[in-house]
Assembly symmetry: C2
Homo-oligomer: 386 residues x 2
Amino acid sequence: MNTTNNSIGIVTVKTAQICTAEDPLLLDSGEQLGPIDIAYETYGTLNADKSNVILINHALTGDAHAAGYYSDTDEKPGWWDTMIGPGKAFDTNKYYLICSNVIGGCKGSTGPMSINPKTSKPWGLTFPIVTIRDMVHAQKKLLDHLGITRLLAVAGGSMGGMQVLQWAVSYPETVRLIIAIATTSTLSTQNIAFNLVGRQAIFTDPNFKNGEYYNNAIPEHGLAVARMIGHITYLSEKGMRDKFGRRLQTAQDYTFNFGQEFEIESYLQYQGKRFSERFDANSYFYVTKAMDYFDLAHETGSLETTFAQVKSNALIISFTSDWLFSPEQSKDIVRALIYNKIPVSYCNIYSPYGHDAFLLEAEQISRLISGALYNTFRDIPNQEAD
Amino acid sequence: MNTTNNSIGIVTVKTAQICTAEDPLLLDSGEQLGPIDIAYETYGTLNADKSNVILINHALTGDAHAAGYYSDTDEKPGWWDTMIGPGKAFDTNKYYLICSNVIGGCKGSTGPMSINPKTSKPWGLTFPIVTIRDMVHAQKKLLDHLGITRLLAVAGGSMGGMQVLQWAVSYPETVRLIIAIATTSTLSTQNIAFNLVGRQAIFTDPNFKNGEYYNNAIPEHGLAVARMIGHITYLSEKGMRDKFGRRLQTAQDYTFNFGQEFEIESYLQYQGKRFSERFDANSYFYVTKAMDYFDLAHETGSLETTFAQVKSNALIISFTSDWLFSPEQSKDIVRALIYNKIPVSYCNIYSPYGHDAFLLEAEQISRLISGALYNTFRDIPNQEAD
């Protein structure tokens, strides 16, 4: 544990049952899901009028552990620890933060690893398909469970940003400020293509067995390949070149075999292996598919029409070298918000880190976020602050 | 067969043994390879002084069949039929064209599918690693075999373009004009990363069995995934969006299952399946690895130094939306040629087709190539034309 950087220290993950079998969640697919557990963490202190609540949404492979450490021996803090803590962008001295694991995930919330009460076996690929909107509906039920009716802000990057946008559309009265980073209002053709290939790589692994592997060896190799594909899309071409170039891992010169030879090869294989040890292959299917379906213009025909109901202020951030969810995709969001006269701040941050910049450019993002939060919090009318 | 577009009609593939077991090819790895067969095709007629010979180099998954049809019932002609034929860019009324399959390939030239004479079994992954330079050395031996000492031009796109550049470096006295399209002088970090992931996807397939699958089921699924990854890199993001968007394959609306739902998904899976039926997985290992090793600055420390020995004129072509081998990579080639006072023409062609543009933008490429060939052919001194 390294608490020199204003870490919030030790945190614990909690679990709430937000739906029962008798009172299930109606999913976009038409299926009903219940019971549903949601794993979540909170940081900071809820104020008296509950006006300081910020919901943090994680990305594809993230979880509820956004900040702090689980124990003194943890080497790494939560995934957005640089952003969350006393004096940080999401200042736990002022704000009360909630971060929850998505449904369909594998880090404590109900997903394909969970037991299907009807069969007493893990759901696997019989788990119903969930959408980004389903994830948001489940989060709303978590807030209901916690007795929270309004959000100062909803924030997140990548898939977390999709949930942010969905919040503004689905619950316009609830959210004062949306902070959507390195995200998109709709998965592009190329995004869908990369997700497909990741799933197909998992499907190729003989251990996958169509998702029924929980009592056997996991499809670690296929999942690692999926992660490697994803990882390439998270880095910019230039970022990769600057970091790894064509450097060789150990040998002085080419070894003329198929082993890990270039540094980039061993880096990706290491990342893939590590990921396959911590993430569930079936969840990878569900969460990528939820992203594929994400298209805020799907039902209305245009993003402008969908955003007509938005009442939140907006802070939209993209990164110059992000080619997974490009600045152009963020600008589409900004244009549609402006069309609807939504107060929106937009910044396209110069960064060589590609999509990963939403995790790495904490300093630049922090300035934008702390300002936007400050203004939004300050502007809450007195009657609501009572 | 569709011969309305000035096709050269029926062609046949020939095979030449260019090395024997007793007189093998010394490879860059230090290994010796022999016997070596090379599959090749020729189009047009060799002129009296053998001054009209053009060597065509194929890309990663191409072969010696660059133009024409094998039979009246063939649906598709060779891979560059739009460019090769009477009156076309590579005008078979004037020039004599040779296209050969690379060593390490699977379309008639010696590669991992071939029988290792020492074991009487297919080489599989015991086949020695080959480099782009090894491929070019083998081609040179094919020319020796055919009694051809000078080349009017060497041309090719993508990996074919790498061989083109290698020709200019390895055999400067032989080549009058190099035509390198949508290529690079060195594989970038991202290029290496994508190649690794393709090989890892094949490796994940239980049928791959470390390359020893020739008497059993082939690793078609892993090979298909590798092809899908490749295919994404061959198209531009915009090109994909324009062609497929988020259109659904058959259903009117989302089906909420993991089947082929979006058009891009069924397109990629179809392309993957078709590819796995026609290409050898082990060859995919060898040819991608040959590309990984390609770095013309590796031995000298700089491309400028390597190109000091070049004596050919050069035509370099890139495409605006090619992100696999980007215009910037072509410009690096152009700058290093100019540094060495090589006469070079460079054109960055506007195209939405990404890397595939070298196969699709025939009309635009043709104008550049026919002009460059005309000038080079015209300038051959009389003493050589005797």
